[in-house]
Symmetry: C2
Subunit: 452 residues, 2 copies
């Protein structure tokens, strides 16, 4: 372990330089040239890490497959992506989102964690092994795609087509956190995702609000429809929505009770006085792991800005995302939503699905691969990880977990203030360094074979 | 009358040229130079119409007083304004809002009706009298201010200070409509106005929506608060809101039943299949005249636009305007709103009043001045006007009606598709022409003295 720690420490400034260059290539959905540039960068970085690289596709932007088999040893598959979320309002950023800047031992940029920083920590772990030991202890494969942030619409086709090339003993996902006090968090699954836009139209143009007595106002219709979707006590009211939801069994509740969760770190990072409904302790975590969500990610309509405009808006829109727990299906939730809005008298609310829906997936605690990753994490951090049954986020994990039958564990370098998807996304340099050691330890542990 | 009609017809292209020049000077709240330019233009136009002009102020942008007394004759006061509402989304406009364009016998520009076109019709009526008769038949005063669209915050002070200079036998307001079939609508009052912004804040930055289980979402809070303000059957739920509201008496109901209202014109102009709650006929008009409103004029929060961002918004905002009927007071409604939100558990919803509140005011049908204006309108249009007890819009009418004790009647050149306050505001050239004749007829009728 010590030689890997030394390697990571010694090469940290090179890793940061790599990450700066990588983050300066945005890679945003719908911009093929950006995606191409980011993909080429990744392909080269994988090659320089000693892997055989192929740039493939199944109809979308490039999917990069890289591999190095080690005869007689297990093989691990790393899932990563080179695309990023849009930056959002640039004025909310301390530094321009695609001009990476170091500040107080953190690198700020869109993608600094999700997923560029995480991918680089992995590549530098391979380099560490080759530098320290002259080779790799296990087989590794990387699948790096460019559509994760829009629901990976072409990945199912790709995984089907290249299933043979993706054989492995387990899959490492791109997500994982290190708490402020340095305790790593692993994730055994991800929630499903359904994103939609609700739109209501009134008159074809804005009207003088003196007509508000008799002219339809799409903003009111939207507000009333939304208020029927979730009650102020956070209960989602869509008929049948909770039918497939399974609560934790007794053993799972006991596990969750033992999990640490740095509540204060999160409250401080978010600058809020309390979590929803004053939750804390295991209630908080049980809700996070076992509850699906119905989230408003955007609202728009009429005029809110400089100047006053007393008008009736012509159109009002809301963006919603539903994070789903295992056994819920996004396609079914979409149908439930339509049926429910109709039944409640909101046939005028148009639903437009956004991106591709994602299925939820969870790996059981007991999987041997999980136990090996836990043991490796303990070695790298000198303390046991907290193993979270599922993450709040979503990804195409179902294709690997259910589709390829692989155990999947999320492991990475986020911290509670990383602002993934928000403004000022950032990675702590210490997490980059520890992330290299973490993956190096994982490769070493897997070489010892999976526990029986 | 015929000679005024000939004058208006002959000079229409000059009127249009004037209006083009006037509309090219925006005059937007918060932009002193624009307001100054528009005010100077007005002062000169008033002077060229044969009036003695003074440019005054009571702390805000210029207020222009112009007058010409005629010994032994009544005096009429015209209220107008040179400021305009912001253009809104410029991409919604057929032509740039401040580059006036003629298209199908309409002039398109912000202010084409409200209030620049209306003011010009009045000035050209004065010129008509002087051209046709060599002088004016009655005394006229004009008060033209530059803060109407933001609630006339300095006008109360001005009216108090210059009350003596504003003496008159009646006041003509800036609003009035001509239906598609050429029937003029007069208005005997205006609703009051309270505009507010509601704001809810969550975490200091947007969060990954994977935290929607436990992190507060200000957009949901806002939706729930709004949904408690008005029910889907359009009932405003704020405690005490309707207490001061008086319904129409039997005689007023009978009057309203006789009023024409071009329902089809409005439905076609707005391109909606029906009015709110399927109302029509006298129900529609009784609602328009005697009901206060609670209107959402804007909604914003998080991300609704190109790209997908699965986030929890950091802040959510709504703009509301309340149009109030006589005896309701905006200051009281503001207090009721705060008390109600608190009582309903929405202490976290911040209320920011916008602009200046406006009091409602109505002149009685029976006022002699009203009867004179009705008679003049009949002469100009060769058909009787529809007299509406109150307009849906708002203005500082209370200062003149209640403050100076004047009867006030709104008379003007809008049509059902004028899009006042919306995109593509426009005036029909035929309405400009008829508007000149209308005001000329009014001056003539007033010269005969008010009915006893």
């Amino acid at each position: 372990m010590e030689r890997f720690r030394e390697f990571a420490h010694k090469h940290l400034s090179e890793v940061v330089e790599d990450l700066r260059n990588f983050c300066a290539l945005p890679g945003m959905a719908g911009r093929p040239e950006e995606l191409q540039a980011a993909a080429s960068w990744v392909a080269q970085a994988l090659e320089e890490s000693g892997l055989r690289v192929e740039v493939l596709s199944a109809g979308g932007p490039p999917v990069i497959l890289a591999e190095r088999e080690v005869a007689g040893r297990p093989t691990v598959l790393f899932y990563d992506h080179y695309d990023v979320q849009p930056a959002g309002e640039e004025r909310e950023w301390l530094f321009p989102p695609f001009s990476p800047r170091l500040y107080r031992r953190r690198l700020y940029a869109r993608g600094a964690v999700d997923n560029k920083g995480t991918l680089l920590a992995r590549l530098w772990a391979l380099r560490a092994w080759q530098d320290v030991e002259g080779g790799l202890p296990v087989g590794v494969r990387f699948l790096v795609e460019g559509e994760e942030e829009v629901g990976s619409p072409h990945l199912a086709e790709f995984v089907l087509r290249y299933a043979e090339r993706l054989r492995a003993d387990g899959c490492i996902w791109e997500n994982g956190t290190v708490s402020a006090d340095g305790r790593p968090h692993l994730y055994l699954g991800m929630k499903g995702l359904l994103s939609v836009e609700l739109e209501v139209r009134g008159a074809t143009t804005e009207l003088h609000s003196g007509w508000a007595t008799i002219a339809p106002n799409p903003a009111w219709r939207l507000v009333w429809a939304l208020s029927r979707l979730k009650s102020p006590d956070e209960e989602i009211l869509i008929d049948g929505f909770y039918e497939a939801v399974e609560g934790p069994d007794h053993e799972e509740i006991l596990r969750v009770r033992r999990l640490p969760f740095p509540e204060t770190d999160y409250l401080q990072a978010w600058k809020v006085p309390a979590f929803l409904q004053g939750m804390s302790g295991s209630t908080l975590l049980l809700c996070q792991f076992y509850s699906p969500t119905c989230n408003i990610s955007g609202l728009s309509g009429g005029h809110v800005g400089p100047g006053e405009r007393t008008i009736i808006p012509a159109v009002a829109r809301a963006r919603l995302d539903f994070r789903l727990v295992p056994r819920q299906r996004p396609e079914e939730v979409l149908e439930q939503l339509r049926r429910y809005l109709d039944r409640e008298g909101f046939e005028d609310v148009h639903i437009r699905p956004l991106g591709s829906p994602l299925q939820p997936f969870r790996t059981p605690y007991e999987a041997p691969f999980v136990r090996a990753v836990v043991e490796a994490t303990r070695r790298a951090f000198r303390k046991p990880p907290a193993v979270f049954p599922i993450a709040g986020g979503s990804g195409p994990i179902f294709l690997f977990g259910q589709g390829l039958g692989l155990p999947v564990v999320g492991l990475g370098i986020a911290h509670p203030g990383s602002q993934v998807h928000g403004a000022n996304e950032n990675v702590r340099l210490s997490d980059l360094e520890r992330g290299i050691v973490h993956v190096a330890a994982l490769l070493g542990r897997l070489a010892e074979g999976l526990p029986g």
